[in-house]
């Protein structure tokens, strides 16, 4: 099934074209991004049911103009034939009010080629065709089955979220449109024994439709069992260990280590050490990493980014050598590089930055069984909680749900939780000695730039064996 285009954006296009023409009388570059994102969030738990519009549902426009020196932007969400003149007036009167003593950076004009293209994603089942009654019933069935498994389960929630994203990008030379469907589902178990409480979650996500929920029906039992096992987890004894990172933790490392580290707006600000390391070794020779809207089909796959640049597949690291960064349009303009289609906005109300899309390490040649057998004493680290980047000084912080103890190549059944993994990025990546042969991606979470600007990304990779500091 092909994702439907937005009727609102379709009928707004003639107005947007008129607005571009009006603004072009005063500005040499004018572009408009229009968004119409809709979707529903369903959450069913032991104690209640919630149905709301998806939190990033929106409808609006952002205009970008070259003001003669650099670029200015204006976001708005009311447009009609009658309001076009007032939008133009707002752009002229509300922007460029900086005091004369404050200096301003200059930017060249964007050079555009003629381009007219569109993209509509495919999925099996359109969630908009499934009634709320059916979705709530299915989620309730999973929740009830999970709660019946153990008295230690104090709450169990099942959620399903759909995002139907539609965008247009128009300028003098570009006319682009796309609609795609992203769905995610999650089971979260909270278990308590006496005063100890633990949480375990099972995520699913993708450029898919309602069919994603079928996978959750088989996962609730595992979610409850793992959560109950966590009640016996102990804190880790701080130190350096050999570890196997599960694909979600591999993805977290890729994301925090060399995803944020090669966002090229950081190169412009001289905030990224990566700028000095292009064509130099940063990881072990068996390590290769990609990012790109065209690098995978997942939650951050699209035809064009929020600045009208076509998405690509960027090889960030090839055989351990840092090769390329990922770039928004204006950073590329400043640096004299080619934009990679990574200019993303949290919404039409926010600025575009260089952001990750689908970020992952390539598969290697090792089998998982060989990797496990090679560990004398260590842990398998699983379950992403959070991470934080440090592109300037290459520190890394990854917080994981648990570590499974491995002794002489076998799991002992003992768990540690939570797990704080820290270190110096090149030390961590150069310690990678084995890489498994299959890549998995997850895109349930959101990526922030610092503590804001949340965007959808997917991250992943194969299982990797490395040496890390745990605390």
């Amino acid at each position: 099934m092909k994702t439907e285009k937005s009727e609102f954006l379709a009928r707004s296009k003639p107005l947007v074209r008129k607005l571009i023409d009006l603004l072009s009388e005063d500005y040499k570059y004018v572009s408009v991004l229009g968004t119409d994102t809709k979707g529903k969030s369903y959450v069913v738990s032991k104690t209640g049911t919630e149905v709301n519009d998806f939190m990033f549902a929106e409808r609006g426009f952002v205009v970008r103009v070259h003001n003669g020196v650099n670029y200015s932007e204006y976001s708005f969400n009311e447009i009609s034939e009658d309001s076009l003149t007032s939008i133009v007036d707002d752009i002229k009167t509300k922007l460029n009010k900086v005091a004369p003593e404050i200096s301003v950076n200059s930017y060249d004009l964007v050079k555009e080629e003629e381009l007219c293209d569109q993209f509509f994603s495919e999925s099996q089942i359109n969630p908009e065709s499934i009634s709320s009654e059916t979705i709530i019933e299915e989620l309730t069935k999973i929740k009830d089955a999970a709660c019946a498994l153990s008295d230690l389960v104090v709450n169990f929630s099942v959620s399903f979220h759909s995002m139907h994203v539609s965008k247009i990008f128009m300028s003098k030379k570009k006319d682009l449109e796309q609609s795609y469907l992203i769905c995610q589902a999650m089971a979260i178990c909270v278990a308590r024994r006496e005063n100890k409480v633990k949480e375990f979650y099972y995520p699913l996500s993708g450029m898919k439709g309602y069919e994603i929920l079928a996978d959750l029906e088989g996962a609730y039992k595992q979610t409850v069992e793992e959560c109950i096992k966590l009640l016996d987890a102990e804190p880790v004894k701080p130190g350096e260990y050999e570890v196997i990172c599960s694909p979600d933790i591999t993805g977290l490392i890729a994301h925090e280590a060399f995803g944020h580290g090669v966002e090229m707006d950081m190169f412009v600000k001289e905030r990224a050490k990566g700028a000095e390391y292009i064509d130099k070794r940063v990881a072990s020779p068996i390590t290769s990493m990609h990012d790109g809207a065209a690098a995978a089909t997942h939650v951050s796959s699209y035809l064009f980014d929020d600045e009208g640049t076509i998405g690509t597949d960027t090889v960030v690291i090839k055989d351990g050598i840092l090769k390329n960064g990922i770039s928004d349009l204006l950073s590329a303009l400043k640096l004299g590089t080619t934009p990679t289609g990574n200019g993303k906005r949290q919404s039409f109300e926010r600025k575009a930055y260089a952001r990750m899309t689908n970020t992952f390490f390539e598969a290697g040649n090792d089998t998982y069984d060989d990797m496990l057998a090679s560990i004398k004493y260590g842990y398998q680290i699983e379950g992403m909680y959070s991470g934080m980047e440090d592109p300037k000084n290459w520190g890394i912080q990854c917080i994981a749900v648990l570590g499974r103890e491995i002794v002489d190549g076998k799991f002992t059944g003992r768990l540690i939780s939570p797990v704080v993994m820290t270190g110096f990025v090149p030390d961590l990546l150069q310690s990678i000695t084995m890489v498994s042969d299959q890549v998995e991606l997850d895109g349930c979470g959101y990526c922030g730039k610092g503590y804001k600007e949340l965007v959808k990304t997917s991250n992943g990779g194969p299982y990797i064996k490395a040496r890390v500091r745990l605390g």
Binding site: S12, K40, S45, K46, T47, T49, E50, V51, N52, D53, A57, E58, R59, N70, Y71, E73, Y74, F76, N77, E78, I79, S80, D90, K94, L95, N96, K97, V98, A99, I102, S103, V104, N105, S132, I136, E137, V154, V197, P238, G239, V268, K269, R271, K351, Y385, S386, M388, D390, K392, N393, G395, I399, P418, V420, T422, G450, Y451, K452, R469, G471
Partner: protein, 434 residues
């Protein structure tokens, strides 16, 4: 537009109640690289969130269903009606226990007017810029980049019970990166200030403080492997640490069984050796972006003490969860005030300790009580001298440590939090790298 939506809602026979939340936002934004403006932005947006409620009865139980949808100003009446009908259909299958909607009250207290109301947004953008860059005067360090956002937000909340409240608030956010370079690598640190009023000294002093902190990090050594050690948390980490107390006191957490705290309970246990904690929620805290006379349901807010000398006195409860737990609603209050402790900051620092200054991202798990963070800068005092250290991490669980914690007498304020400048904990795990 609001009246159009209200009229359509009033014509829906199958719904028993509604709430409309209208927000109009005007903003100006500046993005700096070093001292230069790299981009400027402005916005003018208008949003409506409509919640519909459907009360019903099933097997002798009273139920309330609800569902929320966005109404866009570009929607026609037919589109609005379709969106509301679809939302009402979904609400029919949401079968939560009954709860009442907020009722209007005679009067609402209001937060003091912000000085931002006295001039235009572009005027204040220039004033904020000057204040932020006032102390960017050093040769070896300064502001690498900075983003300034100033929003004027008009909010109106209307419900079917007659609530109709309105306010205008200002939300300012300044995010900046400071750097410092000695002989080695250049060091950077992150800071974000949120506020609702113009305070030149706050902006200028925070920048100066962050540049000074960068200078210390530039000469930091590796954190020693201390195993378990007394740790003093400061500033933002104290705020995040204290969020555990408000999370566990929240009525929704109690109802959902994420918290087992009961009113009258000593939340730090019965054998407290250190300071007791006292937490007040103050909806009118000065210079907070969360200060307001009403919450998102339109409930009138007043200050309330939820934990006093370690004893849980009240749950923070919105209308729905207050009804579920049969307690008086406090409304949802976004400002937290934690009382200072028995010792001065100097007294807390007399014995050997590790005082944290900056983390990559201090993590406080409000469900389990686990906390941790990678150390970007800490000051290690071994009993003789103090040295700046960096790297490694600290971790622990608040439930195992807060029976003996010490809060500084000195207070620190940041946006919606006012509390001790320092919290000292014993036996925190320190994973060093030396």
């Amino acid at each position: 537009m609001l009246e159009r939506i209200r009229k359509i809602l009033m014509n829906q026979n199958d719904i028993t109640g509604f709430k409309i939340c209208e927000t109009k936002v005007q903003s100006n934004e500046l993005f700096f690289v070093k001292k230069n403006v790299d981009m400027d932005r402005a916005k003018s947006v208008h949003h409506f969130k409509v919640t519909v409620y459907i009360d019903s009865e099933e097997n002798g139980k009273n139920l309330t269903g609800s569902s929320t949808t966005n109404i866009h100003p570009t929607m026609s009446d037919a589109e609005i009606e379709e969106a509301i009908k679809e939302t009402a259909f979904a609400a029919k299958f949401v079968k939560n226990p009954y709860y009442p909607l907020a009722k209007p009250v005679a009067s609402y207290e209001t937060a003091p007017e912000s000085s931002f109301a006295k001039e235009t947004l572009p005027y204040w953008m220039n004033q904020i810029t000057k204040a932020i860059y006032k102390n960017d005067i050093y040769d070896k360090g300064g502001i690498n980049s900075c983003e300034i956002f100033l929003n004027k937000i008009e909010t109106r909340i209307v419900n079917s019970e007659g609530v109709d409240v309105h306010n205008v608030e200002y939300k300012c956010m300044v995010e900046f990166i400071t750097t410092w370079k000695e002989d080695g690598e250049e060091i950077e640190l992150y800071r974000c200030i949120n506020c609702s009023d113009f305070d030149e000294e706050l902006f200028a002093e925070e920048v100066k403080n962050m540049i000074t902190t960068c200078r210390e990090k530039a000469v930091a050594r590796n954190t020693p492997a201390l195993q378990t050690f007394p740790v003093i948390l400061t500033r933002e980490a104290v705020r995040d640490f204290c969020s555990y107390y408000t999370a566990k006191s929240n009525a929704a957490s109690i109802y959902n069984q994420y918290s087992t705290w009961k009113m009258g309970e000593q939340v730090q246990g019965n054998q407290v050796k250190g300071d007791f904690i006292t937490v007040t929620l103050d909806p009118f805290l000065k210079n907070s972006v969360h200060s307001s006379g009403f919450d998102s349901d339109g409930v009138a807010l007043t200050p309330v003490t939820i934990i006093e000398n370690g004893e849980l006195k009240r749950y923070e409860a919105n209308t729905r969860y207050a009804h579920y737990l049969s307690v008086a609603p406090t409304g949802s209050i976004g400002n937290v005030v934690v009382k200072g402790g028995s010792k001065t900051a100097e007294e807390l620092q007399q014995e050997p300790h590790l005082k944290t200054v900056a983390f990559s991202d201090f993590y406080m798990d409000e469900l389990t009580g686990d906390f941790c963070g990678e150390i970007r800068l800490a000051l290690y005092y071994d009993g003789k001298s103090t040295i700046p250290v960096s790297g490694g991490s600290i971790s622990g669980n608040i439930n195992k440590l807060h029976h003996e914690m010490y809060l500084s007498k000195e207070l620190w304020k940041d946006n919606n939090f006012e509390g001790p400048l320092m919290v000292k904990l014993l036996n925190v795990t320190v994973a060093g790298i030396e």
